[in-house]
Amino acid sequence: MSSGEVQTAEYLQRRWLNIRKLLERSGPFCHPDFEPSAEILDFTMNSCKILIVGAGGLGCELLKDLALMGFKKIHIIDMDTIELSNLNRQFLFRKNDIGLSKAKCAVEFVNKRVPGCEATAHHCAIQDMDDGFYRQFHIVVCGLDSIVARRWLNGMLASLLQYNDDGSLDQSSVIPLVDGGTEGFKGNARVILPGMSACIECTLDLYPPQITFPLCTIANTPRLPEHCIEYVKVLQWSKENPWGNTIPLDGDDPHHVAWVLEKAQERAMKHGISGVTYRLTQGVLKNIIPAVASTNAVIAAACATEVFKLASSCCVNMNNYMVLNIADGVYTYTFSAERRADCVACSNSTKVMALESDATLQTIYTKLCEDQLFMMKSPGITTIINGRNKTLYMSSIKSIEERTRDNLKKKITDLGLYNGAEILVADVTTPNTITIKLNVIENLDVDMPS
């Protein structure tokens, strides 16, 4: 810069006048701690680090929204590359960008469009980053389509919590999580203060159960076109291996989809079922969730507003969960989701599993998968016996699964587990191993004294 040229500090620029009115003036509905000043925008611009998780439908919107709400130090992480079917809503991408990293492309566009924006891209999985990476952010905002990834991230932020000697939460260790999700014309946005308000794990029951078709229906009594497609996907493909033994079914390969379509149509025809189309086949194979630009725009905007409130304290945050439906008019409902005192992720308490003394390892495994508290996908269970780590069951690695499979049938007492013993559980839904204390109750089928 040439000497003598007077440069206005960026946060005082006329460009930001709209936001500055909110930040430099007080109002009757402000947060009680809010003190209006020009320095707030200086902070949000130059100090406040935000992480956007996901650079898809919500992520693109969030990046744009936050850049125009005065944030500059924005990081965005996504492992995906751009596909043609993204372009109906992921507005930072063009046809020429197909195949490129979503995170990189989005960052490049927004940094160019919004002068001063210093967004940084991470083209990798969220699991590739360690706690040191996540700890650097003031606020994390999440626009993912995967529940497992969301739970992992939630677990990561919860694991960063620190507690004082008296057991109280060290509030400076709290990184707020603003989470958005959409499905067709429906969506939700929520604000989570890990350790202080309901987190993702506290409210797993809010996610609708996944629709699955029983295998016997698919195999023996198909009724719907979906059943015919599932049959080809689950049974016929692995039997016929049309592209050879090593090639798994790929819902993105049009030849694969065409093969499944043809076979599914044959099966449908045989049973007098109609409605097997290319679109349906692809939808079933890839578990496609409908998506439009508008819903993503609304939910991302609601999240961005909450990030702005968190960073500036200009307003109290939503408390704490908003649902949206724009299929019939525009409907929103905001309620306060409640914490679980025994939450696996965000409570500082010992996790306990109650078991009867004749329970098997399978009982534990099933509880980990089906109990509302855990809802795990493929938990690996270990314990410590005589100071040594012992793997009881692990399904994720084939050789270990085969070696430990028989344990499932064994009684827990035969595996060296006892009342008060601790098991260590690892799963894709959490970045940390969870310690669970077993509470073995004597069988209750003996006559109770009346």
Binding site: R15, R25, N88, R89, R223, A258, A291, T295, A301
Partner: protein, 535 residues
């Protein structure tokens, strides 16, 4: 390696690009969208956020009317402007950058003020499907809304100030055939079975089926048989209606469940489903009042050559209901999924489908008769079938003009009622209106330069509006103060929220699918509160 499936029904490029939305409004919805032409007046942040979510899904064309030049504040809040846009025409610059999103969309920019177009070339607006305006002055709002009401073009007015925003849809009449309700009651006709259904139901004897078949008969059959048995026991042909009677039917269903050698009931999924389905399945077939009102309203009974296909089909529907339908709507013909053998399910499904096709054909014949009498444009059989399939959920919106909000009358008393409640969201609406009045009187936003001095002036505007609706003044100045604090600021995330909503409303209107807001929506981003009012 030779590909096992040489023929690949590869989808078109367009189908792939729009795949995720085609699953919501179908190919026919997309075709309608691509015929739509949206006019946006004023390319504010709100205006462009609306356009973004209409251009991405592929509307046919957009026209931006804007005579403003780009300011630095515009660049700070509107993503579709660049630093180099400063001083240039706002509409043209926005258009250039927004069209990058979708090369299939046609775009035009008009640099004249809206007021001047209304004066000199009012026919300009006739070619649009929907006109959307933001940041419009009070005078232009009244004139434009009246004009668009007169020429019957849908108008959406958006507002975004500080954390507050609203949109108002002005539409004279909007008929929706595919309203996509979330929970649709199945149309099974168990209380009034048509001959093919009766024949099928009577052909099955639950008692004599072997165990495998017993576990595979659809719950429709089970419930029907239980009701027949119930009627026999009662010695009465009444349909079970009360809670007690429905429980008696449930008990009979439980009796049907086979027992094992120890007398313990066998777990049969279809019977479990039957027990759960009793409440919905026993709901008697009836003609919804809403549909009755529709087919007997004057638009359906007094057809002219200008009547829309919707009203012609409503008239034909009435003819069907009064004759062949014996007071009932044509059968929907959709069988919900249920545990059953393939054979039973497909057979039952075909019975429902065939009857639905038969009844839709009868309606189609009536449509043709009407068309021959009126000498109007023909309606395809596919359209009539679609109409019949959705006949239970037809939806009609009859709106009011925005100009009527500025007159005394029913709208004024409606507003007053909500202010008395008191409904804070209606207070927000009054503040947005007052702020517009302030602007028209002072040529700037309240609190534009400093908030305190404008509080009294804005309060006077509020008082005037409250007097117009015969309401006492607000007890406190807090909302007036807050509006002055905003100083007319347009906050990007607030506009983005409203922009997404308004875009979808426009798409609903163009595709005639899903129900739009009827007709005022208010949003407060500070409290994360929304409300819908019907003026």
């Amino acid at each position: 390696m030779a590909s096992p499936s040489p023929k690949s029904p590869e989808q078109s490029e367009k189908n792939k690009q729009y795949d995720r939305q085609l699953r919501l409004w179908g190919d026919h919805g997309q075709i309608a969208l691509e015929k739509g032409h949206i006019c946006l007046i004023n390319a504010t942040a709100l205006g462009t956020e609306i356009l973004k979510s209409i251009v991405l899904p592929g509307v046919g064309a957009i026209t931006i009317v804007d005579d403003c030049t780009v300011s630095e504040e515009d660049i700070g809040s509107n993503f579709f402007l660049e630093t180099s846009s400063k001083g240039l025409n706002r509409g043209s610059e926005t258009l250039r950058l927004i069209l990058e999103l979708n090369p299939a969309v046609q775009g035009h920019a008009v640099q004249e003020p809206t007021g001047q177009i209304l004066q000199e070339n009012p026919d300009f607006f006739k070619s649009f499907t929907v006109v959307i305006a933001t940041a419009l002055g009070e005078k232009t709002i009244k004139e434009l809304s009246q004009h668009l009401w007169d020429i019957n073009v849908t108008f959406v007015l958006g507002r975004s100030v500080g954390f507050l925003g609203s949109f108002r849809i002005q539409i004279k009449e909007h008929a929706i055939i595919e309203s996509h309700p979330d929970n649709e009651q199945p149309d099974l006709r168990l209380d009034v079975p048509f001959p093919a259904l009766s024949q099928y139901l009577d052909s099955i004897d639950i008692e004599t089926l072997d165990l495998k078949d017993h576990g595979h008969i659809p719950w429709i059959v089970i419930i029907y048989k239980a009701v027949m048995k119930w009627q026999k026991i009662q010695n009465d042909n009444r349909w079970p209606m009360s809670r007690k009677e429905k429980n008696e039917v449930r008990d009979l269903i439980r009796e049907f469940i086979r027992k094992d050698e120890n007398g313990i009931p066998i777990n049969e999924e279809n019977f479990e489903e039957a027990l759960r389905a009793v409440t919905t399945a026993l709901c008697p077939t009836f003609l919804p009042v809403k549909i009755q009102d529709l087919i007997y309203c004057s638009a359906a009974t007094n057809l002219t050559k200008e009547s829309s296909p919707f009203w012609i089909m409503c008239s034909a529907l009435r003819g069907f209901i009064e004759a062949e339908g014996k007071g009932k709507l044509p059968l929907r013909g959709v069988l919900p999924d249920m545990t059953a053998s393939t054979e039973h399910y497909v057979k039952l499904q075909n019975i429902y489908r065939a009857q639905a096709a038969f009844e839709a054909e009868a309606v189609y014949r009536k449509v043709q008769e009407i068309i021959n009498q009126l000498h109007c444009d023909c309606i395809s059989e596919a359209d009539v079938k679609l109409f019949c399939r959705h006949a239970h959920n037809l939806h009609l919106v009859r709106g009011s003009s925005i100009a009527s909000e500025y007159q005394s009358g029913p709208v004024a008393s409606y507003i007053a009622r909500h202010l008395e409640e008191p409904d804070v969201m209606m207070v927000h609406y009054i503040l947005l209106r007052a702020s517009e009045m302030f602007r028209s009187e002072h040529s700037r936003a309240p609190g534009d330069w400093e908030p305190e001095g404008d509080i009294a002036i804005l309060k006077a505007c509020v008082s005037k509006l409250l007097t117009d609706v015969s309401c006492p003044p607000f007890p406190k100045d807090d909302h007036v103060h807050e509006m002055c604090r905003y100083g007319g600021a347009e906050i990007h995330s607030v506009s983005a929220f409203l922009g997404g909503c308004i875009a979808q409303e426009a798409i609903k209107i163009i595709t005639k699918q899903y129900k739009p807001v009827n007709n005022l929506f208010v949003y407060d981003g500070a409290s994360t509160n929304t409300a819908t009012f019907t003026f």
